[in-house]
Each structure stands twice: as structure tokens, then as C-alpha cells.
């Protein structure tokens, strides 16, 4: 069994890993709630990470780095706005282009500026966001001797960078803006029924641009966080798919701010578990029992469905059952209660699998904003 302090340490790193996800997820939330799909979150995150690290490295000031990162991210947002709002182009294609643009430009410019194979030099103390230690928090050396409450306070609540707390504050702020202000109501309306907003004499284009720019600011903060706080320099492709995980979290959260916090913390927890525990062992009977349960559940669901449902979901059920069978046969010698190692990649893939399940609508269907992905054309 793991002790309380280990649990706290895992939760602590969950929070740190969830922070960039949360900021990017909220960025996507504003954008998609206004009817603009944003596949380019990943690119904006990466661009902001590079620009903030580069500015922090050159000027030595993390604040200038943060501002520059936000600026870079807003620029890409405006490009996305130009393509998808003004020129009514395809939002998905624009997002794909932005991802490539960021992936390519960051390395080309980093190589030119610093000549270290697409990295920035390590940031010195003024160029990083340092952890904030709350008053009275114990240092990590004496953590083992402190009481549980003190451990909770010092390990989990204290000792994060300022941007972590900013990210947490952004959640109620986003909720307030989206649900309690006139701007938020209009923003949500423009993602559901832009024609109605237009009829009321409010600018659809203006609202959508402001949503996209808010998204840019949030992605910029997230980028600065991963390059100046989570790590202390920029490395090639350091966003590592976080923009897409945030997109998954957004769907998992059904486009709602508080749910987004929950989804991001959950996904952050998966990553923390994945980095902390290399081998996760489960008794074979638990694992195979769980798989057989899923398999039977799927099989009973498709019983009275179409031919296609039977083929696809039935095939899936069969596949899961075969995996369960393989597990059972592999431990046959040593007995059914022996431990089986769960592959690390399974934990890594869990966020995506959960998102697909939610998208499929088997558990808690996720319905996107109605006008999402379609450019608005004024009737003439």
C-alpha cells in the first residue's frame, strides 16, 4: 500500500501536469463555445513556450518572456481568426497549418538564435517562475516528520509556481465570464445560433475574434508555464501533444469550465501515476474479470441492434474477450490470483480512450456547440 505522503506527492505532480492542460482546455472552451474549432491549440502552446523561453533567456526576465509568449500565441490566434472568421476557410485545416507552422518555425528560429539543435539555453533564476512557498510550510527535507495536515498544506497546496494558482483562478473566472456576464451570454449564443445574434444587431465577427484572442492569451500563459516553470528551457516539440489532450479534456468536460478542471486534474493524475509508478500490478482475476465484464456488456448492448453495430461492437467485444483469455492463459501456471503488469502505455492512452467513449455517447454523451466549425455567412 502507498502511504499518505506518496499519495500527496502524486497529487502534487498531478496538479503541476494538469496546469497547462487546464489553461489550454479553457482556451479551447472560449473558442469552441463561440463556434470556432481549434485544432491549433497545440501549435499555439508550442509557439508560446518557445517565444517565452527565448525572451526569458535573452532578457533574463521571466515576465517579459510571459508577455512575449502571450503575444506570439495571440498572433497565431489572429491568423486562425483571419482564416476561419474573415476568410471563412476551413477551421480544421487552418488549425493543422498552425500546428505545423509552430513545429517548424520554433526549431528553425531556435537553431538560428542559439545554435543548440532547436533548444534554448537553460534559464537562470530570474528567467524562471520559482515555486511560491506559503508561510509556515515545511521544507521537503523535514516533510517526513510533519503531521498529515501539515504535509497536505506544504506538499500539495504550497510550493507551486504562480502560474499554477493563476490557472486555478481562471476556472471560476471563465465560469463567471461565460455564464454571468452579457458578453458570455452573447459568446455562447454565437456558438449555437450566430444568425440570431446577428439579427439582434451584435457583431458575430467581433465576438468570435474576441473569443479566439482570449484563447490566445490562455495558450500563451500555458506555453510560458511549460517552458519557464515545468521545465527550465525550451526543447523541440516540448508541447508533446498537450494541446490535443486538452482538446480531449474539453470534450470530456462537455465544454463546461468546472468540468474542465475535473477532467484536466484527472488526466494530470494519469500522467503523474504514469511517471511515478513504472509497474502497476493487478491480480490477474481482477483484470480479466473486468475485461470480460466489458465484453459481456458490449455483447448484450448489440443484441438487438443493426448488422453494423453487431459487426463493429461485437468485434470489439470479441477482441476484449480474447485479451482476457490471453491474460488467463499466461498466468495459468502460477494461479489465477498472481499479479499481472499493466503496460505503461495503457495508462498513457487512457485519456484518449475515455474521450472516445464519451464522444461515442455510451456514457454521458458530449454534445458540441451547434454552430461549431461552420463559418458564418450573413444572408444577403
Amino acid at each position: 500500500m502507498i502511504d499518505f505522503l506518496t499519495l500527496l506527492q502524486v497529487l502534487d505532480s498531478s496538479l503541476r501536469l494538469a496546469t497547462p492542460l487546464l489553461l489550454v482546455c479553457l482556451a479551447g472552451l472560449f473558442s469552441e463555445r463561440a463556434g470556432i474549432f481549434d485544432i491549433g491549440l497545440e501549435g499555439k502552446l508550442l509557439a508560446a513556450a518557445f517565444v517565452s523561453a527565448a525572451f526569458a533567456a535573452i532578457t533574463g526576465s521571466v515576465w517579459l518572456g510571459l508577455l512575449a509568449g502571450i503575444f506570439a500565441s495571440i498572433l497565431l490566434s489572429l491568423l486562425h481568426g483571419l482564416a476561419s472568421i474573415t476568410l471563412r476557410g476551413d477551421q480544421i485545416i487552418s488549425g493543422v497549418a498552425i500546428n505545423f507552422l509552430a513545429a517548424g518555425l520554433t526549431v528553425v528560429i531556435a537553431q538560428d538564435l542559439f545554435g543548440q539543435g532547436g533548444r534554448t539555453p537553460p534559464l537562470k533564476s530570474g528567467g524562471r517562475f520559482e515555486p511560491l512557498n506559503f508561510p509556515g510550510a515545511t521544507s521537503s527535507k523535514e516533510m517526513g516528520d510533519a503531521g498529515p495536515l501539515m504535509q497536505l498544506y506544504s506538499e500539495l497546496l504550497s510550493g507551486h509556481s504562480l502560474l499554477v494558482y493563476i490557472a486555478l483562478v481562471t476556472v471560476p473566472l471563465s465560469y463567471f465570464v461565460l455564464y454571468k456576464t452579457r458578453f458570455g451570454l452573447r459568446l455562447r449564443a454565437v456558438g449555437e445560433n450566430p444568425a440570431a445574434v446577428d439579427t439582434a444587431g451584435i457583431s458575430v465577427v467581433g465576438l468570435r475574434y474576441s473569443a479566439v484572442v482570449i484563447g490566445g492569451v490562455l495558450c500563451g500563459i500555458a506555453g510560458a508555464y511549460i517552458a519557464t516553470s515545468l521545465q527550465a528551457n525550451f526543447t523541440k516539440d516540448m508541447s508533446a501533444g498537450r494541446g490535443f489532450i486538452a482538446l480531449a479534456a474539453l470534450i470530456f468536460a462537455k465544454w463546461r469550465p468546472w468540468y474542465a478542471l475535473g477532467a484536466c486534474l484527472l488526466f494530470g493524475f494519469f500522467f503523474a501515476v504514469d511517471t511515478r509508478f513504472q509497474n502497476i500490478l493487478l491480480p490477474a482475476w481482477v483484470l480479466s474479470g473486468f475485461l470480460i465484464f466489458i465484453s459481456l456488456g458490449l455483447a448484450s448492448y448489440v443484441w438487438k441492434k443493426d448488422y453494423l453495430d453487431k459487426v463493429v461492437l461485437g468485434g470489439l467485444a470479441l477482441g476484449v474477450a480474447i485479451i482476457a483469455l490471453i491474460i488467463v492463459t499466461s498466468v495459468w501456471q502460477s494461479g489465477i490470483s498472481s499479479q499481472v503488469k499493466i503496460p505503461v502505455v495503457f495508462i498513457q492512452s487512457l485519456p484518449y480512450v475515455l474521450t472516445v467513449i464519451v464522444l461515442a455517447g455510451f456514457v454521458g454523451r458530449a454534445i458540441p456547440p451547434k454552430a461549431g466549425g461552420r463559418p458564418y455567412v450573413k444572408e444577403r
Binding site: 498552425i98 538560428d112 482538446l247 480531449a248 453494423l308 502505455v345 492512452s349
Partner: protein, 365 residues
Amino acid sequence: MDVMPKWVDVIVVPLFSLFLAAFLSALLILAIGESPMAALKLMIEGTLFRSAGWGYMLYYTTNFIFTGLAVSVAFHAALFNIGGEGQAMIGGLGVALVCLFIPWPHWTLAIIGASIGAAIFGMIWAGLPAYLQAKRGSHIVITTIMFNFIAAGVLNFFLVDVLKPTGSMDPASANFPANTHLPTFQDLAGLIGFEKAFRSAPANVSFFIALFACVAVWYLIWRSSLGYEIRALGKSGPAARYAGVRPVKIIMITMMISGALCGMMAINTTQGESERLILNFTEGAGFIGIAVALMGRSHPLGVLLAALLFGFLYQGGAELALWTKIPRELIVVIQALVILFTGALSLMVRAPLERFFISMQRVNE
């Protein structure tokens, strides 16, 4: 209503987009202190002036033809298959299983078996998102993105825990048996007496399968009734449904064809080049397929030409990285600009051209 002549739409618009992308890239090369003309010269000399350069270029081209065709087929049904990367990874798994566990007597049979394995695995991996789109209404872009990441996990699991030979540290499968090795262009040139051509270049016979796939896709889309239904659904869902097209069926079939094409990319990289299954063998080709399809206007001939162009860019980019201080990622920037101008900003590129050519027509009348 005035319309542009068709040749402008098909030829001038993509070329103009390419010109814009090249112009911005030239500015970038200038900004990092190199000469764009020298860079272009180096790319052309390193790629087109020696047979090994051609061999590398056609190797990349083969990948891009497969993924480009895959994205095009899906585009015709108004579906955006962004999951080519994942479908290719799972296709590679299919190739590896077929090559490792079936004792093939000769490569001609092995390539057929591997193609079928790759296609079926890719098909399954595209079929699940297609099913979710067709029956559950989940957005195919999001599901295919998720399936890319899940595919990476599955491939990783198979390479680390299942296919890795005991005692090996490398996350890769065992080498494929010699009977499955595909003849490279070097071997083929040797047969007709040019032993020195295409030396050590990876291009192999799967290039011809890619060419055949172009013809097959052309026939499918423009000459078969299935292709007609695919295009009808892509142009207008309600109209197609009214005419008796079953959307669920067409979405499933289109995506499965698309997934099969992506999967078949792996015969080039896995069976043809590395001769074992490795991590990251796709190298982003699934995404480059999007640029290729957009540039090629979703037509097999256009895809072939765009794939040649991107093959040239990738081989040329490698030359640049070797001889100058321009990193390989410059190609990624060019690729992004091509996607931007041919896809997202197409209105910006088209509108002035449209105005110009329509006014030309008026003058002639």
C-alpha cells in the same frame, strides 16, 4: 454568373499558392542569413542531379502518395481523415505480423500478403472512428486524432512487450526474413545493367503499388457507382440521402478505403526500408497527406504531382540540413504554408485571381 476557366482553378491556383509559400520561405531563409537561391540550387542538385537523390525522393513520394490519396478519398465524402498517422502505424503492425509469422517463399507473394495485412489493419483502425461518426455522430476529426494517440500506444506496447526479440534493448521487432525483402531501385537498375544507379537509396518496388493505387482511386472516384455515391454524399448530404444513398454505408466504406491506403504506406517504410517494425516509422507522413491532398485538389494525378513535390522537398531539406545551417524543420514550415494557402486561406489566394481572369474574359469578349 462568371466563373474562372477550369484550368485556372486546377493549375494556376495551386501554383500561385506554392509560389506564395516559396516566397515566404525564401524570406525566412534570408532572415537566418542564408541565400535562398543557393539553397534552391543545393536542393535541386542534391535531389535531381544524382540517381540516389531520385531514390530518396521517390521513397518519400511513395509514402505521400498513399497518405495523400487516403486524405483525398475521405475529402470526396466531405470527411476529414486526420488519423492517417495512426492508421499507418497500425498498418505497419499488420505488415510486421504478416512478414514475421508467415513463411513466405518469395517477395512477390510476401508483398501481396503484406499489402493485404497492412490494408486490413489500417481499415480496422479507420473503421472504428467511421462507425462512431456514422452511427453515433461523434466528430470524425476528433476521434481520428484520439485514435492517432491510441495507435501510438498500441504500437509502443507491441514493440516493447510483444515483438521485441529477447535480449534486445531497441523497441523494434526482429528483422524480417530475407524472403520478404523487397527489391530496391538499385536492385532493379542492376537487372538491366546499371549497377551504379540508385546506390543505397531506399526507394523500392512499392512505388509501383503506389502508382497503381493512384489509378485505382481515380477509377473508384470517377468511374464507379460507389465513387459517384461518395461524391454525392460529399457535395450534399440531404440530396444524396434523397437520391437513395445510404450515408452510414458510404461513410464506413470511404473511411475504410482511406484507412487501407494509409496502412499500405507501411509496406514502403517497414517492409521496403527498415525491414523490421520500428517506432516512429511514419515520420509524420499521415499529416503530410493533408498537404498533398489539398495541393493536389483531391485528384489522383494532382496527388501524384504534389507527392513528387513533397518528396523533392523532403530530400532537398535533408541536403540543406547536411550542407548549410538551415535545419530540416524548414520543410515543415513550407508544408504549413502550403496547407495554409491551399486550404485555410484559399479564399484570399483565389479571390484576386478570380477577379483577374474574369476581367480578362470580359476584355476578350
